[in-house]
Symmetry: C2
Subunit: 476 residues, 2 copies
């Protein structure tokens, strides 16, 4: 800590009377981290970064008090939800205060097909509340959630997430109509609450909390369906991938998850491993329960065999109450795949690849051939822009930063588009769109440049900003 003196910190604290704070080492360490350690590049860069205080507001009023105090005393401010990001979104590069928003977990309102939630509400808790208090019209649920449904908050998902379970039907969080409104508090001596609607939402979407404190989120809800789970084994990855594509293309089959994994991945997923015959590729699927037989018929046409099935009721008991021998199967998809594999084989990391329209499955096969045991293919099927959209979170057996850079270059030369997961710089990271007007909005919502400093490269104008802190590493 150099820009933040002990005196300023004390003065800042003095204004937060009554708001839960912590500054013990264990809490500071715990709350200053997310899942950046999936990346061997980010790990050494971010490992030691710490906030000086953690603040845990419980109301919007307390958030506003913290924002005002941070502005007055020029204290850097980093936001945190469930801390499930993979790119250091929640890591305070310049110390200061870490704002843990999980205390703001209120359901503001729900009605048929829409709901509004405080930013710190966890996604599973929201779905739980929607289950327990159904509308007169029936039961609703979030359209999508990452595999970290249990931990992730809706504000954190908006601020740093992209897609997840449900994206095979509803697209992803940046798509038109996926978010109806976001309320943000400015970090200013007299903070304002600004309601963003329509395309204005893009200003703060996937912005890591660099330009305003997301306090509430309003989203359309999906009508609930009885989501049954299946694990399906296929002789080859090509067959599994063609099945995944066909299922995602089938408007007639209601579905929430279509993940495909090559033959080398099931053995890395300990509790799933015994289900899948040796050398077989695998699909993890969630479909509307009455459509199980149609799904089985479609799988069979691709030489798929159902090796595990769980009813919607049992799958929900696993998700909501932790019941059953297996966790909810979505906890093996998206970036949970990487998490499980890492536990078995610590040298594993991952990439994020989007496949070009039309050539998806040919490229999958070409990549399987080309990279051999270095890259283990994990596909997630989505619907976006009116078509089937194939993305991949392949597991990479990491050798060196140089080799990682080569792999990225080779994937791109083959026609894949890599979204670099090995940088904490917002402008390059994740699946995000890079044309959003985030820097412009930062001037308004964070005039002192205090919010999550070092993450937004396009931002270069305020006193709180330190030169050199925003140049994140390229992959490799």
């Amino acid at each position: 800590m150099d820009t933040l003196t002990t005196e300023r910190l004390a003065a800042f604290r003095a204004e937060l009377n009554g708001i839960p704070l912590a500054d013990d080492d264990a809490t500071l360490k715990l709350k200053s981290r997310d899942f950046f350690w999936f990346s061997p590049i980010l790990k050494p860069l971010l490992d030691g970064k710490r906030a000086e205080i953690v603040a845990m507001p419980r109301t919007k009023g307390e958030v506003v008090r913290i924002a005002a105090a941070a502005a007055r005393h020029r204290v850097p401010l980093t936001l945190r939800g469930g801390g499930t990001g993979n790119y250091g979104q929640a890591v305070p590069l310049e110390g200061g205060v870490l704002l843990d928003l999980t205390g703001l977990d209120r359901v503001v309102w729900t009605r048929a097909a829409a709901g509004r939630f405080a930013a710190g509400a966890r996604l599973l808790d929201i779905d739980c509340a929607l289950r327990d208090r159904p509308e007169p019209s029936g039961r609703w649920e979030l359209r999508f959630h990452p595999s970290t449904r249990k931990q992730a908050t809706i504000g954190g998902f908006i601020a740093g997430g992209a897609a997840g379970c449900g994206s095979c039907t509803w697209g992803q969080i940046a798509d038109t109509g996926a978010v109806h409104a976001v309320e943000v508090a400015t970090v200013d001596e007299t903070p304002r609450c600004i309601e963003l609607r329509g395309s204005d939402i893009l200003k703060v979407l996937h912005a890591y909390g660099v330009n305003g404190i997301i306090t509430e989120v309003e989203v359309p809800l999906a009508p609930w369906q009885p989501w049954a789970e299946r694990v399906i084994a296929f002789p080859t990855l090509a067959e599994a991938a063609h099945f995944g594509f066909a299922l995602t293309a089938a408007e007639g089959i209601a579905k929430k998850e279509v993940g495909v994994f090559d033959r080398r991945i099931p053995p890395l997923l300990k509790r799933l491993a015994p289900l899948v015959p040796d050398g077989h590729a695998m699909a993890i699927v969630m479909v509307s329960e009455p459509q199980g037989p149609v799904l089985a018929e479609l799988a069979a046409t691709h030489r798929g065999t159902i090796v595990y099935e769980r009813s919607a009721e049992d799958a929900e008991a696993a998700a909501f109450e932790g019941k059953g021998a297996l966790p909810p199967l979505y906890e093996y998809t998206w970036n949970h795949t990487t998490l499980h594999a890492l536990k078995v084989e610590p040298a594993i990391t991952y990439l994020q690849i989007r496949f070009p329209a039309g050539g998806e499955l040919a490229l999958v096969e070409a990549m399987e051939q080309h990279f051999g045991d270095e890259l283990l293919l994990h596909l997630e099927f989505q619907r976006r822009f009116g078509r089937v959209f194939v993305s991949s979170l392949p597991l990479l057996r990491f050798r060196s930063p140089e080799r990682l850079a080569e792999v990225v270059a080779e994937v791109e030369a083959m026609g894949g588009a890599v979204s670099d997961p090995h940088t904490y710089v917002l402008d390059n990271a994740g699946w995000k769109r890079t044309d959003a007007p985030q820097a412009e909005f930062k001037a308004l919502a964070d005039p002192h440049g205090l919010m999550n400093p070092g993450k937004l490269k396009a931002w270069a104008g305020e006193p709180g900003r330190r030169e050199g802190a925003d140049a994140g590493p390229a992959a490799g």
Copy 2:
């Protein structure tokens, strides 16, 4: 009537004791017709065709008795639901008995995401029952229905329908997963009830009742959403069409109907005409109510102005209770557009065109240029096969059969695929797939060749069949 003697008819009747029958002229005339008169080609061919008896069974047991008696006495048997077909599906070409199945209107069962219904249940009545008796999980509805929701039966829709309102999300009735099971009774001395599931369903799908009496239908249900209605005016057809495409491509906007109409059509739709400024193209849209603002923003980017909006509650009151100044807006879409236009301008008929993937909107513009005031473009946007699928039911100002044939040839030369609506022969008609194994199944389910004779060209082997009756006219 020549093959059916008065004696045989009397013997047949004698076996139907207790089953409601009619043979008065008015009933025979009414029940022997459908909406084939949309076609100036079909009208003279089918106008005088009459059954000799109408039977109105109320139970599956009565259906089986009728089937057995028809088989024993070799009485031709034609099935009828709501009589809303446009290709003479319900017209008895060889007299005999007309089986009106609307008495079989039972909800067999419903559960979350699926239901089973007697074949004669009308689509609106099914949705009404689903509204009035929601599942514990909430309210469900049919995934799609033609614009004739009020009249059409689920059995008739399976037997002769294709797509409709809801197809912009759920595809259409022939797509994988759209129908879970169909029960058919054979027309045999000892009729059997056969349950078809999975791809076996294709045997009787869109088969006009030539190969078994559909008695029950099991379908997946869609979770209900609060469907609000909008009419949107656009300066040009191109803008309206691009809007329709973008809306259908937007996974983030939940929708049930996307219809687009060129500037010459609104004046033909009497009660809608005053809403749309002169010379403007129009879209009719149903979206989930909380997504109204997102829809408005999308429309505005295509220079669309919302000229009429109705809440989900009021739209439902219009559909279910006939309340409000306007009928439900879906009664201006699909083939209702043609019906309204025909009333204003009797020389109007229509075509059915599918647009090639990728070139949809360019072809729409080219056709608008090429045909001028002869062809009035009406587009219906669907999702099928994992993509946006543009189909058209353009209104045609009919001049002569020869010119109709020329128009079809010109459309096809430009790249459109025409599904001929001017033939009653099953093998060519409508949107149907022509590779379904209908003739094979007919041998099993209708061994005496009594069912809807003259409609299935591929069928050529039984005594009940009369040479020459099955050669339907090509368009023109």
